[in-house]
C-alpha cells in the first residue's frame, strides 16, 4: 500500500512485517525514530516480540547476539558512536556467524561532535565481517530491510542495512509498504542450525589456537564472498514479488557510450541521477552505485568499468592520513584489469555538509581534468582554515572552475 511515511517510520514498519522475535536497541540520533516506532508498534500490540530496552549499545548488540544464538529472529539499529560502542560485539556476532539484522542510520563520528550524516561509522566497522548494504532512498531501505532478513538466514551472516541519517531517516516520502502475505511468502521462518538447545548442546565461541584460527577466518571470508549470490537472489526474488529491484550488488545506470563513470554509495546517487538533467551539455556519464560494500562486488565493478576512461569516486567517509576508503577499494578491485579507468577519489558531504546538484558537474570536470591527484576533499572551504592547515594534498586541486578554491 502506498503511503507517506518518514524514513524511520517506514523502516520500523518493514521490520515489523518481518516478525522479529527479539528487538533490542539504544537510542542515538538519527536512528532514534526507528526504535521509538518499533517500541510503539509493540506497545500497541501490532508487533508481538520481546523488546529489550537496554542500557547501552554494547548491550543492545549483545542482547541480539544472545537472542539470535538461541534461535530467535533478532533486530537492532544504531549509528555513529553507538556503532563504535558496539564494534567489539559486531566483530563477535560476525565471527560467531550469527544471523541478525542491524540498521545503521549513518552519522559522522566524534570528534568534533556532529549528529549529521556521513558514512564514517559503518566504514569504521567494514572489516567486522558483516554484509553491508547501502540504500539510495527510503523505498529501497524498506525493501532492503526485508531482503536483509532473508539474506541473513540464507547465509548465517549478520547484515547491516545502511541508510543515510536525516537525508533518509527523517525524510517523508511516498512508500509502497508490501503486504504481510508477500513478506511471509518471501521470508520463511528462521531455522538457525547452530541454535542453543539443551537437547543438542553445542559450545559456541570457544578458544581457538593458531592451529585453527586461520581456518576460521578463511571460512568466514569465503562465506562473505559466497553471500554475493544470496544478495542477488534476494533482490531478484523480491522483484518477482513486488516488481521492484535495486541492482543486486552494484547498480549501473547511464548510456552505453559513456567514457566517464561516477561511483558512489547511499543517497548521493539520487542527487547525481537528478543532476544529469541540469547539465545536459556535459558528456554522457555512467552512474555506478555500490549497493553491497561487503561483499565487495569486484567482478561486477570491473565489468561496469571496462569501457570507461575515468571513474570518479564520491564518498562520505575519510581515512585520515590515507584518503578515501572506497576509493582505495575501487582502485584495488580495478588493479590489473585489462582496461582499467583512471580513478579519481573525493570525500564529499562529511558531517552533514550538503551535497548539491552542483556536485555532479564538479565530478565530471574532475574526470575531464588532466592529471589530477590521488584523492581530495572535494567540498572543503580552504578559506575557513588558517593558512597552516590548507594542506594542498587534501584540498581540491583537480576541480576548481574558477581557480578560487585552489590552495596557494
Amino acid at each position: 500500500m502506498q503511503q507517506a511515511l518518514e524514513g524511520s517510520q517506514a523502516i520500523a514498519r518493514a521490520v515489523a512485517l518481518c516478525r522479529p522475535q527479539v528487538v533490542s536497541a539504544y537510542p542515538i540520533t538519527p536512528q532514534t525514530h526507528i526504535v521509538e516506532n518499533i517500541a510503539k508498534l509493540v506497545a500497541d500490540g501490532a508487533l508481538a516480540c520481546e523488546y529489550v530496552s537496554v542500557e547501552s549499545e554494547h548491550s543492545a548488540a549483545s542482547v541480539v547476539l544472545g537472542a539470535a544464538a538461541a534461535g530467535a529472529r533478532a533486530y537492532t539499529a544504531s549509528a555513529s558512536q553507538g556503532i563504535l560502542l558496539m564494534s567489539e560485539v559486531l566483530y563477535n556476532i560476525a565471527g560467531l556467524r550469527i544471523p541478525l539484522v542491524l540498521t545503521c542510520a549513518n552519522r559522522a563520528l566524534s570528534a568534533p561532535l556532529s549528529i549529521w550524516n556521513d558514512q564514517q561509522d559503518s566504514m569504521a566497522v567494514r572489516d567486522a565481517g558483516w554484509i553491508q548494504l547501502y540504500c539510495a532512498d527510503n523505498q529501497e531501505a524498506v525493501d532492503t530491510t526485508i531482503q536483509a532478513f532473508r539474506i541473513t538466514q540464507d547465509t548465517e551472516l549478520p547484515v547491516m542495512v545502511c541508510m543515510d541519517g536525516f537525508t533518509l531517516t527523517h525524510t517523508l516520502e511516498s512508500i509502497e509498504l508490501p503486504s504481510q502475505e508477500d513478506v511471509d511468502r518471501f521470508l520463511p521462518p528462521l531455522r538457525f542450525t547452530r541454535a542453543l538447545d539443551p537437547a543438542r548442546p553445542l559450545s559456541l565461541g570457544t578458544l581457538v589456537s593458531p592451529e585453527w584460527f586461520t581456518e576460521a577466518r578463511h571460512s568466514q571470508h569465503g562465506a562473505l564472498l559466497a553471500a554475493a549470490a544470496d544478495i542477488e537472489a534476494a533482490d531478484r526474488d523480491w522483484a518477482a514479488l513486488t516488481g521492484r529491484a535495486w541492482g543486486g550488488l552494484l547498480e549501473v545506470d547511464g548510456p552505453e557510450a559513456a567514457r566517464i563513470g561516477v561511483l558512489t554509495l547511499g543517497s548521493i546517487s539520487g542527487t547525481l541521477a537528478d543532476a544529469r538533467a541540469a547539465w545536459p551539455d556535459l558528456p554522457p556519464v555512467r552512474l555506478l552505485r555500490l549497493r553491497a560494500f561487503r561483499p565487495f562486488p569486484a567482478t561486477a565493478l570491473r565489468a561496469a568499468c571496462a569501457d570507461l576512461d575515468t571513474l570518479v569516486v564520491l564518498e562520505r567517509a575519510l581515512s585520515p592520513g590515507a584518503g578515501g576508503i572506497v576509493t582505495a577499494e575501487v582502485r584495488a578491485a580495478l588493479y590489473g584489469a585489462a582496461s582499467a579507468p583512471a580513478v579519481r577519489g573525493f570525500a564529499v558531504g562529511l558531517g552533514g555538509r550538503d551535497v548539491p546538484l552542483e556536485t555532479y558537474r564538479r565530478a565530471v570536470e574532475a574526470a575531464l581534468a588532466p592529471g589530477g591527484g590521488e584523492f581530495a576533499v572535494l567540498d572543503v572551504e580552504l578559506d575557513r582554515l588558517p593558512e597552516a592547515d590548507r594542506y594542498p594534498e587534501a584540498g581540491p586541486r583537480t576541480v576548481s572552475p574558477a581557480g578560487s578554491e585552489s590552495p596557494p
Binding site: 522475535q21 547501552s56 538447545d197 559450545s203
Partner: protein
C-alpha cells in the same frame, strides 16, 4: 525443614536413617554439565564450583559465559568440556547476552533456564553495567560470579574484588606499598539494591549449601545472583590440594560471609560459632605473605583485615551458639532425565 534440622540430621551420622540416606546418595545419578578433562590448574576451585552449579541447575539450562579462566580452560577448540548449550561472547557482556537468550527462549515458549557465568573481573568491573541492566530489566537469569578475587586469566592482576592488602601483579607488595590499597567492592549489597529477588554468597567448601542456593535461585522467576568464593591456587599461592581448606578458612574467619538476601533483606546466614583469627586464613597464601613481616605497617594491615572480618561477623550477625556449622552432604542432587549423567 529448617537449615539447622537439616544439618543435625545429617551430622548425627549413626542412625539407620542416615545409613539409608548415604546409600541413596550413592545410588542417585548426578547430572554432569561440565565434564572432567578440561585444562584448569590443579586445585582450581572455579572448575569445581561450575560443576556443582550445573549439577544442581541442569540439564534444562543454557549458559552465557564471559571471557576468563573458566571459558578458556573448558573450550580449547576442537574440544569442549560443556554438556549443556554454552555460548561465550565477550568479557563484559555475559549479563546482556544472557538477557537476549532469555528473551528468545521466552518468546519461543521454551522453558530453558539461562545461566550467566563470569569471573569477578567480568562481574565487579568491566561487566558491571551489563549485569546491572540485566537485573533492572528483571530477566529470568541466574548470574553466577566465580570469585577468585583477581584477573587470573590474564595473569593475576587486581580487580575490585581483590581483598585489601593482597598482592597481585598490578598491586604488588613492595617497600612503599603493601599490596592492594582499596577495599573489596561489596558487590552483593550493590546487586541486592536492584530490588533483587534473591542474591547469595556461597563457597566451594560448602557444596551442599552451594547446590541448595543454586536450586533456590533457579526456582525464582526473575534475576538471581550467586557469588561463589573460588580459591585460585595459582593467583593466591596456596597448595592446590588445599583449595577447599582455604575456602573454608575464609568462611570460618569471617572474611567471606555466607549469606542470602531476598529483596535486599537478609534471610539466611551460615553462622560462625567460634570465629578463627584471620591470620589462619592469610598465612596459607603467598598473596598475603608480606603481611607477616615484622614491621609496624604489616601488623597494622593484619589488624585492619581482622577488623574487616569482625565487621562482617557483626553486620550479618554470624556469631551463633551451639555446635559448629557443617555443610551437609545430603541426598540433595536432583533426579532428572537426560543422557549426560555420571
Amino acid at each position: 525443614m529448617s537449615e539447622n534440622e537439616d544439618r543435625s540430621a545429617d551430622t548425627a551420622g549413626t542412625s539407620p536413617d542416615d545409613v539409608a540416606v548415604a546409600a541413596l546418595r550413592h545410588r542417585q545419578p548426578r547430572f554432569q554439565g561440565l565434564a572432567g578433562g578440561h585444562r584448569a590448574c590443579l586445585g582450581c576451585a572455579q572448575a569445581l564450583a561450575a560443576r556443582l552449579v550445573l549439577e544442581a541447575a541442569g540439564p534444562e539450562v543454557a549458559v552465557a559465559n564471559a571471557t576468563g579462566c573458566l571459558e578458556v580452560f573448558t573450550t580449547p577448540w576442537p574440544e569442549s568440556a560443556w554438556r549443556v548449550p554454552w555460548l561465550h561472547s565477550l568479557f563484559e557482556n555475559a549479563g546482556a547476552v544472557a538477557s537476549g537468550m532469555e528473551a528468545a527462549f521466552k518468546v519461543q515458549g521454551r522453558t530453558v533456564k539461562v545461566l550467566a557465568f563470569a569471573g569477578d573481573g567480568g562481574t565487579f568491573d568491566i561487566g558491571f553495567q551489563s549485569l546491572s541492566g540485566m537485573i533492572e530489566r528483571h530477566h529470568d537469569v541466574l548470574y553466577v560470579c566465580y570469585d577468585n578475587e583477581g584477573y587470573m586469566n590474564t595473569g593475576v592482576q587486581r580487580s575490585s574484588s581483590t581483598p585489601h592488602a593482597a598482592a597481585t601483579t598490578t598491586s604488588p607488595a613492595g617497600r612503599a606499598r603493601l599490596g592492594k590499597r582499596h577495599l573489596k567492592k561489596d558487590i552483593l549489597s550493590i546487586v541486592a539494591a536492584h530490588h533483587m529477588p534473591y542474591a547469595a554468597t556461597a563457597s566451594v567448601a560448602y557444596p551442599s549449601d552451594l547446590r541448595k542456593k543454586v536450586r533456590r535461585a533457579v526456582a525464582v522467576e526473575g534475576p538471581t545472583f550467586l557469588l561463589i568464593h573460588s580459591p585460585c591456587p595459582l593467583g593466591w599461592g596456596h597448595d592446590g590440594a588445599k583449595s577447599i581448606e582455604v575456602a573454608r578458612l575464609a568462611v570460618e574467619t569471617g572474611m567471606v560471609p555466607l549469606v542470602e538476601l531476598e529483596r535486599g533483606e537478609l534471610t539466611g546466614t551460615m553462622p560462625i560459632r567460634t570465629a578463627r583469627p584471620v591470620t589462619d586464613y592469610l598465612k596459607v597464601q603467598a598473596r598475603f605473605r608480606h603481611l607477616f613481616a615484622d614491621t609496624p605497617e604489616a601488623r597494622q594491615e593484619l589488624e585492619h583485615l581482622q577488623a574487616l572480618a569482625d565487621h562482617n561477623i557483626e553486620i550479618y550477625g554470624l556469631r551463633g551458639a551451639g555446635a559448629d556449622p557443617r555443610d551437609t552432604a545430603g541426598t540433595d542432587t536432583v533426579r532428572r532425565g537426560g543422557a549426560r549423567w555420571a
